[in-house]
Assembly symmetry: C4
Amino acid sequence: MNFQSLKEEAFEANLALVRHGLVVFTWGNASARDFSQGVMAIKPSGVAYDKLRPADMVIVELESGQAVEPGGLNPSSDTPTHRCLYLAFEKVGGMVHTHSRQATAWAQAGRDLPCFGTTHADYFLGTIPCTAEMTAEEIMGGQGYEYNTGTVIVREFQQRQLAPLDMPAVLVRSHAPFVWGKNAAAAAHNAVVLEELAGMALNTLALSPQIPAISPALLTKHFKRKHGAGAYYGQKHTPATSTSA
Amino acid sequence: MNFQSLKEEAFEANLALVRHGLVVFTWGNASARDFSQGVMAIKPSGVAYDKLRPADMVIVELESGQAVEPGGLNPSSDTPTHRCLYLAFEKVGGMVHTHSRQATAWAQAGRDLPCFGTTHADYFLGTIPCTAEMTAEEIMGGQGYEYNTGTVIVREFQQRQLAPLDMPAVLVRSHAPFVWGKNAAAAAHNAVVLEELAGMALNTLALSPQIPAISPALLTKHFKRKHGAGAYYGQKHTPATSTSA
Amino acid sequence: MNFQSLKEEAFEANLALVRHGLVVFTWGNASARDFSQGVMAIKPSGVAYDKLRPADMVIVELESGQAVEPGGLNPSSDTPTHRCLYLAFEKVGGMVHTHSRQATAWAQAGRDLPCFGTTHADYFLGTIPCTAEMTAEEIMGGQGYEYNTGTVIVREFQQRQLAPLDMPAVLVRSHAPFVWGKNAAAAAHNAVVLEELAGMALNTLALSPQIPAISPALLTKHFKRKHGAGAYYGQKHTPATSTSA
Amino acid sequence: MNFQSLKEEAFEANLALVRHGLVVFTWGNASARDFSQGVMAIKPSGVAYDKLRPADMVIVELESGQAVEPGGLNPSSDTPTHRCLYLAFEKVGGMVHTHSRQATAWAQAGRDLPCFGTTHADYFLGTIPCTAEMTAEEIMGGQGYEYNTGTVIVREFQQRQLAPLDMPAVLVRSHAPFVWGKNAAAAAHNAVVLEELAGMALNTLALSPQIPAISPALLTKHFKRKHGAGAYYGQKHTPATSTSA
């Protein structure tokens, strides 16, 4: 099996995070999923972005968590979180994790990110959830802290009955965001959007602390304008990652 | 008819938005009006700025909304808003729409932007209005959401008796700003100014939540210093877009 | 008389404002004074910085306000303010005006900028004053709005008994800062410092709304460490503009 | 004795502060310690970073504070603070001081920086302390203001029973941060992290003013994931400065 194109996709998404200023040092990682082979390519752990090469991406089997290629680098320490989310969110083809400034502030504040405007509605069908706090058991035990981080996210989505591709991001309480999409490029794109939304929402609340979320009519109008059967945005060949205007 | 110079004007204004950091991805668009021919050149929908060429600009008839040239790209999804505003604001020669961070926070907060200083007074003759919330009918029906967005703006200007060239911007509630001027370059220039004003006003309120708008005397003095018969700012050949100092 | 070196000094200070991100478009100006000849070189009005050349600087006689060289460009519209301040502050050799984001927010908020830390104390011997509001008479009459702006600043300094070189900046209420120094380079340098202080003070108050100014002992220690007879900062040849560390 | 490699290490750390945007003008300095020879290499006072060369670093004996090489530049005016901290914190190999915007705002506000998330926990084992205010005696007397600044820091660490390498930063009240690490590169790295944390914590409190620090379980989990015997982050050869993801 040849994983070169999968590694290229993961590599490009990792670089996109840097290019858009979402990562400091090595505080971020992106992965790309191969649906047919049941594997992902993910950033190696603790490698500086300016040293990163496509060949450094680590191929991991989603079910077992085993590295597929012998002698490779260690995968990101967040690999089990990516695995857990891919296994639960079966249509998700790309995943990123960052500690981007504004989104991380919301995660640290333990607050859901409401939809205050159409920029948000163009990408996320409603409130972006912040997870419950992880218990000492979840931090220490079970399948390990990183895998349990994924479990907490999945439980949040089940409880709120959210569809992963209608709500391609989550704020992990006291930690930072995980963001996904139909492929790795879309996941990185959505991570940039989330950071913009988090910053704008912070200032929105500074100006109007009691402002409610936008109306369901406006939310649905904008989301559907770009997603699903009735979408009329962009050119016929517009990629999934392109956006309002 | 040859639309090359009109397309160049619209193209340059679109690039100016990017150069000044007002757009993320494709979240913005600029158009230029040809008064004599009753058309505008506008950015195509969902095309990345780094791929954009002057020839990609789409020529649209203002009255009918029809594309003038066969086989062109789809115009920006916000084209009907531009049309509606050009038809109502007959001296306006350029129009831009962005989701710039600070101005969008004010729009999301549903707040008018008061004139807190002379930077504001140099460009906008008073409070920059935020529109009323759009009703479900306006979102769903009539001539369509985008055209109705323009209608809501025009109604706001009529109710407040504002002259479009004395007040070349509006905050569309729960959405983002539309900004205009006597030509596309002036519209892009004013969009940069609005973003600066929005950020400075946010911090002004953080320091003095009850601060009132500046006095009518100071407002008029600064605006007239640069606009109208008594203007004495700049060199004899200074373009309309140049500014205080 | 040859004003080339004076024009170079003013030109360099104007560019320094741009290089440090203090000006948007043409919202700023710097001047340099020639003590022996009683003139200043100042930026022309409304000329874009990227087009500016040293030869474009305008030589103005401080007493009369007359341009010295025939056929030159119009001087900055703020020229009378510079003149008024040079005439009142006789040891000041350089002057700048900007609408830098953070300092302008304080001016718009009508608040003095207290000394909250040693960064401030290294440059400004206490609270940076915000002027009184200008009256309609001061805006409309007397020697004109711009000259009266200077008069309001001078009056504020007289009332507070401030020494211009111990307090080389002021916040003009509802407008923006004027900043000066022993020469134009020092004035531009101090304008950068003021912008940093204004941003840090805003966040300081967000964290501790009731925080008092630092102690007189700490204020004096830091200011004297770098200014006056007992200064022991830097190398023997350190220029007046160099700073803590 | 040849100090070239020590000077290189200090020089690189000084440049890292600039590259990461932590210093304005010359507001910062970094030093590197030679454990065997009992000396440090530190930035000269008031020299612009763009003029700085490795050979300009000043070698100072930690015990005596004497310059080792004849005819060198004056060391940073903060040299006695570095000395005091090296003498008290015997495993610390690198030290930096900056006036970085966000961290300085916390120091000016006189507030400890609580651990609000895992980004913080990856580097600092709990609350980053803000010192007590310095007394007039400490400012004026004893071994001098700069040495006493170090004394105040050391006392704070003794009172709170903090281990310098578990808590490699302090906020000096009304001043700014000092940050350290096992070597100069780690110290500069930690200074960048502190600035990120300070900004994220400010926004966290804006969103949730009453948010508590994270749980001891989560704090310990993240810190130990990267430090000490049980660390499993990164590649086998990962340097001490690399970080989460």
